[in-house]
Symmetry: D2
Subunit: 256 residues, 4 copies
C-alpha cells in the first residue's frame, strides 16, 4: 500500500477544429486529471466530447479549464474584463464542459482557470472573487485548483469552496512560493529527472528547493505537467517512474 | 377557469456584447416561454445571465436556442456541418444556457433549434436525428419544439423525446402544413389583428386558413412570435388581448 | 469665405451582420470624416462596403478604425497584446478597409485607432510605436489621429507621419489636456449647446475651459462626436449650426 | 534551357495563433507560389506577415486564399452565403493579405479561393460570379486560379480576368476533367512517384490518365500540392526531382 498519494494534471483538449495542439494521446496514460479547454482559448465542441471520452476510457478525471475569450491569443493575454464578464464567462464554460461530462456519464471533478486569467486571479482579489463566485454559484462542492498563498486561494477559502493546491513540475519557485517569471533564467525545469526528483521531495517532505537554493515548505494536492512544455511527456514519464519507486500513488483528487 | 391553454414563445437574449438586438423588454410581459440564444448566433454569457434573470423575474420560462456557429450570419445560413458537429454543438450550447438556469435557480424548460439549422432539420432526417440525439443524451425528459409533420417531429417522436408542436403567428401556411417561403407574396402575416384572429381559431378549433384559402387541421402547443418581425410587439399584444377575450389562458408548457 | 476650417469625425460602420449599432444615417450629413470599423470590434465586410459607399455618396471621407480583436467587448477592454500583434493587427485592418476604398474609387484618408487600444497607446510608448510603425509601413503619407500631448502624438511625430490633432466635443478636459476619466462627475458634455459653444471657442480661439474652470490653450484639426453618446446626433447638429453662425467651415482633413 | 515551365502552388500560412498547422517550412523550398490564408479559415495577422516574409525570402510568390468565415470548420463546410457576402468577404480578405504584401515590398501575385467556397464556385455560377466580381473590382489584372471546365473558369473568362488553370498532383480525375470525389476509392494519389509521373506527363503531353484508365487532354499552368495531404512534402520532392529530370522548369506564374 502506498504511503503517499498525489494527483497529476495536465491541460488537454485544446485543439480547435482542424488545428491540433498538445500531446494528449501520450499524456493520458500518465496523468490522473485533465483540465479540458472550454472553447474560449481552444477546445471546440467535438474536441471537448472526444477529450472527455478519451479521459474517461483511460481512467482520467475531467475538469473544466475556462479562459478569457481569446482564441487567437490562446488565452495568454491579460484583458481588462469586468468581474461581471469573468463571472458569466466562467458559468458559460463550466456548463459547456459539464454537459459533455453529463452525456458521457461522468462527473465534473474540478475547475482550473486557464492562462492569463489564472495569472491575473493569483494577484487580483476582484478577479479571484469573480471566478470563485461563479464556481460557487454553479456548484459549491466543486473543487478549484489554486496556487498556494495567492488571492485565488484566499478567495476560495473565504467562500468555502474545496481547494486543491497545485504545484508545477516544470517551474522554479521563488522564496515566497510564487513561480519564477518565465523571462528569468532558470525559470523552467526542463530536465525530466530533476523535475521528478523535486516532485518526489515535494510529496514526501512537503519541501521544495527555491531558485535561491533554500528549502521552502509547501504542500500540494496536485502536480501540473504543462502540456506545452517541450519535454512534457518525458517529464510525466519521469514523474511516474520516480513516484512508483518512491511508493507514491497517483490518484485523481476525486478518486480518493 | 379557462377552457383553453396555450404557450407563447419568442427568441430573446440575442444581443451580443455592445450589440443590442430584439425587443426583449417589451416582449417579456407578453410571452410565457423564452428561447434564449446560446452564444453561437447571438447571446454572450453576460446577456444569457441577464436574460434568464429577466425571464424568471417576469414568470417567463427559459429554453435553449442553439444555432450553427455563425455570429456574422446570425445563424441564418445553412452550413454543411456534419451530424457529429451538430450533435456536439447542441450539447455545448444546451450546457451553457442550462448553467445560467442552474445559477439562477430555475429549470431549463425546453430546446428550440434556431434559424437555418432548424429549417434544415425540418427536411433533413440526418440533421434532425443529430439534434434529437443531443437533446436525448443531455436530458431525455427535455421537451423539443417542432413544426408538425416534419423530419424533426418524426425524429423526436421516434426517440421518445417530449414534443411541443409549434405554430407561427406571423406566417402563412401551405396546404401541407409547411410554412410559405418568405420569398413568396403573402408569406408574412404582419397585421396584428389578423394574426390574433388566426391564432384564436387555431387554439379553439385546431384549424388554420392556408394561403390558398382552404381550412387545414393543425394542432399547436406553443405559438411563436418572431422577435425580429417589425410588428412583433404589436402582434404579441393583439394575441394576448384576443386570447383574454376568447378565454384562452397563456401558460408555459412547463407550468401546466 | 470662411475664416476657419475644421473637420468633424465620428466612428461609423460598427454594425456587425444582423446586429445594428450607431446612428450612421443621421450622422453622415453632419460630419466630414468617418472612422470605419475594420471587423475586429465591429464592422463585417458587407457593412464596411455599405459604409464606404454611404460615406462617399454624402461627401464624407473614410478612415480606418482598427481595434483589438475583441468583438464581444467592442474593443473597449485593454489587452496585453504584444507590439508584434498590434503591428500586424493594424496592417491587416488597414488593408481590409482600404480594399473597400479601392473598389469604391476613393482614397483612404486617415487612421484612428479605436477604443481601449487607442487609450493604451496614449500613455504607452511601446504600443504607440507599434501602431505608428504599422501605419508608416502601410503608407507613410497616411495621417493618424492623435490626442495632443500623448505618446501617440510623440511617436507619430518622431516617425514623420502626418498628425491630425483631435478634440472631443462631448468630453471635459483636465488641466494637462488629457480627457477627464469617464468615471468622474462632469466628464461627459451632454448638452448640445454647451458642446457647440466649447468647440466654437476651441476653433476660433484655440482655447478650452478645463473642468477646473481655467482656460487651456489647445489646437485641434478635427473634432470627434462619439456615435455612442446618447446625444450624438443632437451634438453634431448643434455643432453644425454654431459653426455656420461663426463662419467656421466643416471640411475633411483630406479635402483642404 | 528548359523546354517546359510550370508553377507549383501550395496552401500555406494556415496556422492560427498558437495553433500550428501545415508543413510550411518544408514546402517553401519546393514550391513557386503560396496561397496564403487570410484569417477566415486560418491565418492570423502575425502568421500572414511571417508567411509573406518567409515566402519572399525563399523566392516564392504570394497569393491570397480567401474562405468562408468558418475557423472551426477550416473553411471546409459549404455555407448558404449570399453573393453580396461572398463578394464583400473576398474584398476584405484580398485587402488584408495584400496589405502584408505591401509592407513587405512584394506584389500580390494571384487569388485562389479556399476549400468549400472554391468547390461551390466550381459548380454554382452565382457564387463564381460573386468571387470573380470581387477580384475584378479589387484588381482586374489579378490572376485567379481555376479548375478547367468549371463555372469559375467560365465566369473569370467572361469577366476578362487572367485565368490560371490548376491541376492537382494528389487527386484522380474523372473523364469530364472534374476531380474524383474524395469519398471514392482511388480518389487520392498518395504515392509520390506516381504523382510525379502523372504531372510530368501532364506538363509535357497535356494529358492525364483518368480513374477509368483513359487518356484525357487537359492543360495546366500550375500544379497544387495539398499541404494537408500526409505525403505532401514527399510528393513535392518527387515532383521537383522528376521535373528536373524531364527538363521542366518550376517558375511562379508571375515570374515568366
Amino acid at each position: 500500500m502506498s504511503s503517499y498519494t498525489i494527483d497529476i494534471n495536465s491541460d488537454l483538449g485544446e485543439s480547435y477544429g482542424a488545428f491540433k495542439i498538445g500531446a494528449d494521446a501520450e499524456l493520458f496514460p500518465l496523468i490522473s486529471s485533465a483540465n479540458v479547454a472550454c472553447g474560449f482559448h481552444g477546445g471546440d465542441p467535438k474536441t471537448i466530447d472526444a477529450t472527455v471520452k478519451a479521459a474517461t476510457a483511460q481512467g482520467v478525471r475531467v475538469g473544466a479549464h475556462p479562459s478569457y475569450p481569446d482564441l487567437v491569443g490562446f488565452g495568454r493575454r491579460a484583458m481588462a474584463a469586468t468581474p461581471e464578464e469573468i463571472y458569466a464567462d466562467h458559468i458559460y464554460q463550466l456548463g459547456a464542459v459539464d454537459a459533455f461530462c453529463r452525456v458521457n456519464g461522468v462527473q465534473l471533478q474540478h475547475v482550473k482557470t486557464h492562462g492569463a486569467l489564472n495569472n491575473v486571479a493569483m494577484k487580483d482579489p476582484v478577479t479571484a472573487e469573480a471566478i470563485v463566485a461563479a464556481v460557487k454559484a454553479y456548484n459549491p462542492t466543486l473543487p478549484i485548483f489554486v496556487l498556494p498563498h495567492t488571492e485565488m486561494e484566499k478567495a476560495a477559502l473565504a467562500a468555502g469552496l474545496p481547494v486543491v493546491r497545485e504545484a508545477f513540475a516544470d517551474r522554479a519557485y521563488n522564496a515566497d512560493a510564487t513561480l519564477v517569471a518565465r523571462s528569468r533564467p532558470g525559470a523552467m525545469i526542463t530536465d525530466p529527472d530533476e523535475a521528478a526528483a523535486r516532485m518526489v521531495r515535494l510529496v514526501t517532505e512537503q519541501t521544495i528547493r527555491t531558485i535561491d537554493g533554500d528549502d521552502l515548505a509547501i504542500e500540494a494536492d496536485t502536480i501540473c505537467v504543462h502540456s506545452d512544455t517541450a519535454t512534457a511527456v518525458a517529464i510525466a514519464r519521469a514523474l511516474r517512474a520516480a513516484f512508483d519507486a518512491a511508493g507514491i500513488a497517483v490518484r485523481a483528487i476525486g478518486n480518493r
